[in-house]
Amino acid sequence: MFKQLSERFGPWVSLGIFLLMFLWLVMLVILPQILMIDYSLRPNLPPSQIGGPDDQYTLKNYATLANNAIHQSIFFKTIWSSVLVTVCTLVVCYPLAYYLAKVATPRQAALCVLLLIIPFWINEILRTFSWFIILSYRGPLNALLLSLGFIDRPIRFLSGDGGVIVGMVYAYILFMIFPLYNAIESLDSNQIKAARNLGSGWIRTHYRIIIPHAKPGIATGCIMVFMLSAGSYAVPALLGSPGSRWFTQIIYNWFFEGGDWNQGAAYAFILLLLCIGFIVLMMRLFKVGLGDIAR
């Protein structure tokens, strides 16, 4: 390993490369995760008892979730809502990605990409905050609906999960559109023409030609959006209410209100397992490898 590098970069630069890589992967990526898992398997003890006879591995912290019906329902709601957000962003983004990649002239596409990149760069908190204003009780959406006569009194949009889901679709939509766009763009347009010439309608062309080709992009977009939604703290904190808590908020409470880091670590690891499970499912479903993701 070192030989290949030093042949190209010489010994000193290679040493630097290895050192930086080691620091990052071991100190920042691997060890923290291992310690988090270790923490999750130990009981929460006062400092004097750590290392004592009671400090033994246990699955107690994981049993908490199995025994707590409220936490369970929040956990499943988080999964379900994140799937819903993922499906919504996919449905909304696909036509636009197709248009950008195959219909628009290069000039139009460049303009659209620029228009997409700008909100993409804007802070997630600000994007969420703008929905907070729109959806608030005395906000412009209620004012508009009232003046049009659709409703008689203002609706409390921010009291359920609806606001959170709307906010998430908005915040994460661009993580879907760029992978889709990249994937569809790499398809040879002649294939679409050929399908048309051979008498395929546009639904069948999409179903049989474009979507199969765009699989890696679809998988990447879905993985990103699901991971961001399930792991989001900002959006539910801003757009949710006490009655619509998210799993991340329970984790946060274990750390900073319950003071039980071991319990929090167990819940965090469950969330991580959920995301890994989703990634594996997507890769199986779309038959893509890790190399196709995040290209």
């Binding site: 970069f9 010489g10 988090m36 994007r127 993580f175 670590a265 991580l272």
Partner: protein
């Protein structure tokens, strides 16, 4: 009207709707800055004012948070960019066992929810005696920002012509000379773009920072806490300023990128770089 032109108009309508959806919330948020109302809204309009900018200017908490964010972002940039470059160089050179595994490991921080990176960093470094604060925030953010940098540098390295190196070697250049005079200058544009993106990513991070910030506050944390307690249109004023800065950044970045693309005459491929940087 043929079915083809119906489809064409349909798609145009859809695109318009999409961009309205994308920009209306931001416009409403910005407009609320100028409304003379205690709560940020645009309905009803109680008169136009600039007083919220003044209130923001006099808010010492905001300046403190801004300072912290700038320090953290600068720190992240200085750690994450060398790491990302090193890993990209490694991946583009090494051929053999375990390469795919290492690549997967390097990508893993991007596929891990931000809260989990924050939590694991907090637990690990506390066991070493480091508690939450500015420095721990730098470490936690570096964990995933280094991966973005790695991807961006790797994208450029893949178009690098290795025969240039071999030519330099056969002309008698040392390893270090080749590295300094050929590889680094070639990578410089990508390194600069990666630095900009690392800075912005650090600046806007919320989910990871929340767990490792200790008693320090970054600008993003500050905005979120203001929204929940003590919300006034001064927050909108801050949002508007940040949006304008972002647009300037994005435009400058785009101009620079197109300029390079035109010079190198390799067009759409560079797109994937700017996009990989924000996945």
């Amino acid at each position: 009207m043929s079915s083809h032109s119906i489809l064409k108009w349909g798609i145009r309508f859809y695109i318009t709707l999409f961009f309205l959806y994308l920009f209306t919330p931001l416009i409403i948020m910005s407009a609320a800055t100028f409304n003379d109302s205690r709560f940020p809204t645009i309905s009803p309009w109680r008169g136009t004012t600039l007083k919220w900018f003044e209130e923001l200017w006099q808010d010492s908490g905001m300046w403190q948070a801004l300072g912290n964010s700038a320090i953290i972002a600068a720190g992240v940039l200085l750690i994450a960019v060398p790491i990302g470059v090193a890993c990209a160089l490694f991946l583009s050179t090494y051929r053999g066992n375990g390469k795919n595994f290492l690549y997967g490991l390097m990508l893993s921080p991007l596929l891990t929810p931000g809260v989990i990176i924050g939590i694991s960093t907090l637990i690990f470094w506390r066991s070493l005696g480091v508690s939450g604060g500015i420095y721990l925030t730098m470490i936690a953010q570096t964990t995933f920002i280094a991966a973005y940098v790695m991807l961006m540098i790797l994208a450029r390295l893949q178009r690098f012509d290795r025969t240039l190196e071999n030519a330099a070697f056969s002309l008698g250049a040392s390893h270090f000379q080749v590295f300094r005079r050929i590889l680094l200058p070639y990578l410089m544009p990508a390194i600069l773009s990666a630095a900009v993106i690392a800075f912005l990513q650090s600046f806007e991070n919320y989910n990871t920072t929340l767990f490792v910030k200790g008693h320090d506050t970054t600008l993003t944390i500050y905005i979120a806490s203001k929204v929940r307690t003590g919300l006034t249109p001064a927050v909108n004023a801050l949002g508007l300023i940040l949006i304008l800065i972002t647009i300037l950044f994005a435009a400058a970045y785009e101009v620079k990128r197109r300029h390079e693309a035109r010079q190198a005459q390799i067009n759409p491929e560079t797109d994937s770089e700017s996009i990989a940087g924000k996945q």
